[in-house]
């Protein structure tokens, strides 16, 4: 087990190294000189240019520059946004809270509704099951931005129950402001989790050990709780983990739709303004979060299911 974890962690470090190289190197793919890219094509006084050159070590070879950037990033310094004259760290710190709250809120919704609806669909046959299937099919086909505008129109404009733009102040107000965005972010994933849960529980119900348990006269609720759900938990945990990881990038869309001041929306804004230091910094943070979540899911999967052959590649 420890060997498996060590191996996954080594792969994590390798992946992050290559990914950080790609993120840093992307700047040099941009048409024009790196300094033009860094300044967004603005003409600045020569002494500022020289300062930027020194700050970004532009007279050093590429690999040295990458190494300096990476070591600074590992030490928690992501550089400086040139158009804003502000440290990328500060810019990220001001916004990461909103993104974390949003992703956390959406994850709670996914686990709560996805798993419970899946179980209800699997256990209750007939009309209940059809209803669950129908609801999950509709919400699976609803992209986050589409869900966002529909929710804004129904619950914001028509009913006026929730605010449609911006982040609130204080706990209750924040929850109120984040409710619609979290639902929009969770819609597709909830449907996916519902489907996987439903299939997993169905499959487990048809297993022989469940029939044995029933024929031995165990109460139905005990059979479901101890025999069915416990075994079905393995695929459910995996899919929940993977979908939550996918929310990290998707949050950019929802944050933009609801004008939330989060990391994703700011990344989009920085991409439009060609503020490269910010694009690199936020991309790095998002990739790290995404990769770490995936590794945690992998390890959790191995811990949950002793049958997973550790060390060998999963098919």
């Amino acid at each position: 087990m420890l060997q498996f974890i060590a191996k996954r962690l080594a792969m994590l470090v390798a992946t992050l190294l290559v990914a950080s190289f790609a993120i840093y190197g992307a700047l040099y793919l941009a048409p024009g000189s790196p300094i033009a890219a860094l300044t967004g094509g603005r003409t600045l006084p020569p002494e500022v240019m020289a300062q930027i050159e020194a700050r970004y070590h532009l007279n050093e070879p590429f690999l040295t520059r990458y190494w300096l950037w990476l070591t600074a990033a590992v030490h928690g310094d992501l550089g400086e946004s040139i158009p804003l004259h502000e440290s990328v760290n500060t810019l990220i710190a001001q916004r990461i809270g909103t993104t974390l709250q949003l992703v956390l809120f959406a994850s709670i919704l996914i686990v709560m509704f996805g798993v419970s609806l899946g179980i209800i669909g699997a256990l209750g046959r007939g009309a209940v099951d059809t209803g669950v299937l129908f609801a999950s099919t509709v919400s699976a086909a609803l992209p986050a931005f589409a869900a966002a505008v529909i929710l804004q129109f129904i619950f914001g404009v028509m009913l006026g129950w929730f605010p449609v733009l911006g982040t609130g102040e204080g706990f209750v107000d924040t929850v109120k402001h984040l409710t619609l965005p979290a639902i929009a972010l969770a819609a597709t994933s909830t449907a996916l989790v519902t489907r996987v849960t439903r299939t997993a529980v169905r499959e487990e119900l048809d297993r022989e050990h469940v029939q044995t348990a029933v024929s031995r006269g165990l109460p139905w609720s005990d059979v479901v709780r101890r025999h069915v759900l416990r075994n079905a938990a393995i695929p459910i945990t995996t899919v929940v983990g993977i979908t939550i990881a996918s929310l990290i990038a998707l949050s950019a869309v929802v944050e933009t739709a609801f004008a939330l001041n989060g990391l994703g929306a700011y990344l989009v804004q920085a991409a439009q303004n060609k503020d490269f230091a910010v694009v690199q910094g936020i991309s790095l943070v998002l990739v790290v979060a995404f990769v770490i979540t995936n590794v945690v899911v992998d390890i959790a999967y191995a811990l949950l299911d002793p049958r997973v052959s550790l060390g060998s590649r999963a098919q």
């Binding site: 792969m11 390798a14 992946t15 992050l16 290559v18 990914a19 790609a22 993120i23 992307a26 700047l27 793919l29 941009a30 048409p31 099919t137 509709v138 699976a140 086909a141 609803l142 992209p143 986050a144 931005f145 589409a146 505008v149 529909i150 804004q152 129109f153 914001g156 404009v157 449609v164 733009l165 499959e203 996918s246 990290i248 990038a249 998707l250 950019a252 869309v253 933009t256 739709a257 990344l267 989009v268 920085a270 991409a271 439009q272 060609k274 490269f276 694009v279 991309s283 998002l286 990739v287 995404f290 990769v291 995936n294 590649r313 098919q315």
Partner: protein, 291 residues
């Protein structure tokens, strides 16, 4: 090795010779085919058939609802919504087709390479793909927009790169299984070359799965491309595109005039739902029939 759960009844039907050519789709399946056919028709002919110029604005008709000759009314710039929807089908549908074709091509090539050579090639390519998995498609597209400037091309290329490893991973399993079949080694012994075996035997035998993957991918590509255009990093306004229209209509929607955004949403969702339904069908058929 994954455990295949086969529905015995479906398998019998699937193997019945009379049904081999025409896949069993059912009513919803054929409805999906119809929706996709309509979308393709619009993508090809929509811009020519649009009753009005999709970019011609007339501010005195700003946010005017449906009137005679304009069944979907006007957007905030006073442009005909129906014409914009028809013209916008082109970038939306062809953009997604372009992304899924490239991803399928690259993914299939990688899967065949790994399956054929195995060993070190397999390890190397699989490791490279693991790294690519670290980049969610949308993130890659945003970075591409920052580097190359926002356009449909940069967003499309970024998404194709991000999707390829998913295709490669799914097809690799199927290709490995096919590669291990005795008929392949029998042909190899007879001296048939790697190219011929891969292209004439391996590829056709996993083609059903490739088609299914392509269909599923098309749905994802449409959603992600529309999302990127919605963010302002893909197709650029005033060009018509369904994703762009959703974001253009948002200001009016918040003021209580939702027709522009919602009509574009309806178009996107119905095509995506049709494609993903058909993809699921094709995939379960190909997995059931192609053992």
């Amino acid at each position: 090795m994954s455990i295949e759960i086969l529905d015995p009844v479906a398998e019998v039907i699937d193997n019945a010779p009379a049904n081999r050519r025409i896949p069993k789709l059912g009513f919803l399946g054929w409805l999906s085919v119809a929706v996709i056919a309509l979308a393709l028709f619009l993508a090809i002919f929509g811009p020519m058939l649009a009753p009005y110029d999709p970019t011609l604005s007339n501010l005195s008709y700003s946010n005017v609802g449906p009137i005679a000759g304009h069944p979907l009314g006007f957007d905030d710039q006073g442009r005909d919504v129906l014409s914009r929807l028809m013209a916008g089908a082109r970038t939306t549908i062809f953009g997604a087709a372009f992304v899924s074709l490239i991803a399928i091509f690259v993914g299939t090539a990688l899967a065949l390479l790994t399956a054929w050579f195995g060993g070190k090639t397999d390890t190397f390519i699989s490791a490279a793909l693991d790294v690519l998995f670290a980049f969610p498609g949308i993130l890659l597209a945003v970075v591409a927009a920052a580097v190359f400037g926002p356009s449909l091309l940069s967003a499309g290329l970024a998404l194709s790169i991000a999707y390829s490893p998913y295709v490669a991973r799914v097809l690799r399993g199927a290709a490995l299984k096919e590669r291990a079949m005795t008929y392949i080694s029998a042909l190899e012994v007879q001296g048939f070359g790697a190219w011929r075996l891969t292209l004439r035997h391996l590829l056709p035998n996993i083609s059903a799965l490739i088609v299914a993957q392509g269909t599923i991918l098309f749905g994802f590509a449409m959603v992600d491309l529309a999302a990127i255009s919605f963010l302002g990093l893909g197709v650029q306004s005033p060009n018509a595109d369904w994703g762009v229209m959703v974001s253009e209509g948002k200001t009016s929607l918040l003021q209580g005039y939702p027709l522009v955004s919602l009509s574009a949403v309806v178009c996107i969702v119905s095509v995506v739902a049709a494609v993903s339904f058909l993809g699921d069908r094709l995939e379960s058929n190909s997995r059931g029939g192609n053992r």
